[in-house]
Symmetry: C2
Subunit: 205 residues, 2 copies
């Protein structure tokens, strides 16, 4: 019996290049879960084949800024001229249905979510070593020395933010990492602070 | 990769009659774990077939009291004239070897452990309902009305101590309960507070 019936907001984050997306995919490929993925909202133009409400919610910049004013994002950021954000209402809807909502986001976004939803579960995906991460960042594309250098410095800053998270999961093997995240989700449902009200209700029945 | 390499001290407790022993047994019957059970020390006489160091460590009352003075128990109690306790040194030895040490103890003992080892993982095993627990306590033996009444009152007090624990696990099904405890153990190894030092060491390699 699961004492805490509400879904959990699970934030999967970590430095660029650590393989957050692959871990998240392995997690969703596991059997018997009730995880849902939060669809982001953006002001960028849809690409060929992208579907509104599936790949992204596509909105105008005016609409996006209005939503920022109304505090309707759990986190948002502007990348190269386009806004991207996590709509709060969609997340709340899914949580109330008992689904675990997974956000796979950059560390700056995760820190914003922590301010707005401190009871979410914050999981930091870490590389097996700094050398491993550097290798991934350097061999990722054919960018200039300057861009690679900037990327490495950013990764080092991001590595330093792990203490802000509840859990640190090493991505040495993507399936191990996904297994561990699933164990964290199961365990968090049993945490006293999350299920004490339901426990009292059950004992009074 | 498991960032926290030390074993965890896992305290499994809950009201009398809830089935702690059965849950603990189901946990140890699971595959691929490195759980060890802490052998208690007692002043009572060995029964036929009981082996010193396996079933209990059998010591004299004088020896036991000396160890109390020396603060060498994580918890102890006196039941009907005999002392029972958890020897601290044996637990520490196993933890240093990377084994998870499971204590299955009464709630009063668990509260003593919490004072001495606040970083242990405290799991409260709860019944699916108060009625269920009462039923188990009443049908347990052929005791007098007075003894049963006392037992029920004790159970109600013990049920109220759940907020002292980190996790609440309902024993509606013994295998579900054991699975959840295993998930808790896996998750706790990834908790930032337990693995931050190792994380920093790994990133500096």
């Amino acid at each position: 019996m699961k004492l805490n019936q509400d879904g959990l907001l699970v934030v999967i984050s970590g430095p660029s290049g650590v393989g957050k997306g692959t871990v998240r995919q392995a997690l969703f490929d596991m059997k018997g879960h009730n995880l849902v993925y939060s669809v982001s909202m953006t002001t960028r133009q849809p690409r060929a084949g992208e579907v509104d409400g599936v790949d992204y919610y596509f909105v105008t910049e005016e609409e996006f800024k209005k939503r920022i004013e109304e505090n309707r994002f759990l986190e948002y950021a502007n990348f190269v001229g386009n806004y991207y954000g996590t709509p709060r209402d969609k997340v709340e809807e899914q949580l109330a249905l008992g689904n675990e909502v997974v956000l796979e986001i950059e560390v700056q976004g995760a820190l914003q979510v922590k301010e707005r939803k401190p009871d979410a579960v914050f999981i930091f995906i870490a590389p097996p070593s700094m050398t491993d991460l550097e290798h991934r960042l350097v061999t990722r594309g054919t960018e200039s020395y300057e861009i690679i250098k900037e990327r490495l410095e950013k990764a080092r800053r991001e590595i330093g933010l792990a203490p802000e998270y509840d859990y640190i999961v090493i991505n040495d093997d993507v399936h191990n990492a996904a297994d561990r995240i699933m164990a964290i989700i199961r365990a968090e449902h049993a945490r006293t602070k999350r299920c004490l009200d339901n426990y009292y209700a059950l004992m009074e029945e």
